[in-house]
Symmetry: C2
Subunit: 178 residues, 2 copies
């Protein structure tokens, strides 16, 4: 197989927003020519697949402004500076659902936007869940729901589960259960 | 269920790059307060799940600079201005693999980055594939491969299929075949 690697020659931050950091790099293409690559630098994220003792899954319903729709998602969030993703997983589970997990295992990772972001999402499987109250985060509006995997798969089969990382989590749980 | 909708008050383009367009909107939160939302405006994309007559799937191997890894992906690309996504699907299949499809059916759509992009990816199932030569696109370095669904599922089970939209396509095809 050919070597398709593009080697960085120079990197520049071309936008530094409140949420998004955009970089533009000059790269050396495999054929020796130069090209420009523009992409988001993202700290990475963790998502939790929280399995309750009765087998249902803890989800959060929220409004996602960029796409203008309400989504049903597994608890997830961005990694804070210097934070291991396992800690992000525990933190987001607590902040978004008010639950602690007795067991939190790394499952796999996914690259959600390879064309224009360096984001990596670490998936964790959480069990031994315990409700410890709902601290919440200022300015986060969400509703916690417990949903069966069958209900989620039926929604996926109807094309109604459109949030990518949650859809991947649902399919992964179904493969694991088969 | 509560109304979580965030209503736009004002929108401003804060970065206009060669690839990325970043907008920052002022929004009205459900509790009446105001907040800022920063996100990528993306034209949308189409991805093709191309099933060969022998059941194998046509894939492309390419280097993804933002994440610094070589990925195995289904043919996909951005929607051109004014282009219906069905046409994008046919175009990307031809450009990336040199194949035409006798049948191209819309399957479902996915929102890959709800936190910071408005991108929507339309998934198409392509059959009746015919090799018509490889036009290629200037500056695109990729290798075409034919891979069985079992091989892809095994890679997914090992956590080695990390490109999100391709992983979703593989899981979707496996559910369809079950």
């Amino acid at each position: 197989m050919d070597d398709f690697v593009e080697r960085p020659l120079a990197s520049e931050q071309v936008f530094d927003g409140a949420l998004l950091s955009v970089h533009r790099d000059r790269v050396r293409l495999p054929d020796g020519r130069e090209a420009s690559r523009e992409y988001i630098r993202h700290p990475g994220a963790a998502i939790v697949l929280p399995v309750l003792d009765d087998g249902r899954l803890l989800m959060v319903r929220q409004y996602r402004y960029p796409v203008g729709v309400e989504t049903l998602e597994f608890p997830a969030g961005k990694i804070d500076a210097g934070e291991p993703s396992l800690r992000t997983a525990h933190r987001e589970l607590l902040e978004e659902t008010g639950h602690e997990a007795g067991r939190m295992e790394f499952a796999f990772h996914v690259l959600p936007c390879v064309g224009y972001a360096d984001e990596r999402i670490d998936f964790y499987l959480a069990r031994g869940l315990r409700h410890v109250g709902h601290p919440g985060e200022d300015g986060e509006f969400l509703a916690v729901e417990s949903v069966s995997l069958d209900t989620l798969l039926a929604a996926a089969d109807r094309g109604e589960l459109t949030e990518a990382k949650t859809l991947i989590g649902v399919y992964w749980l179904a493969r694991r259960d088969r």
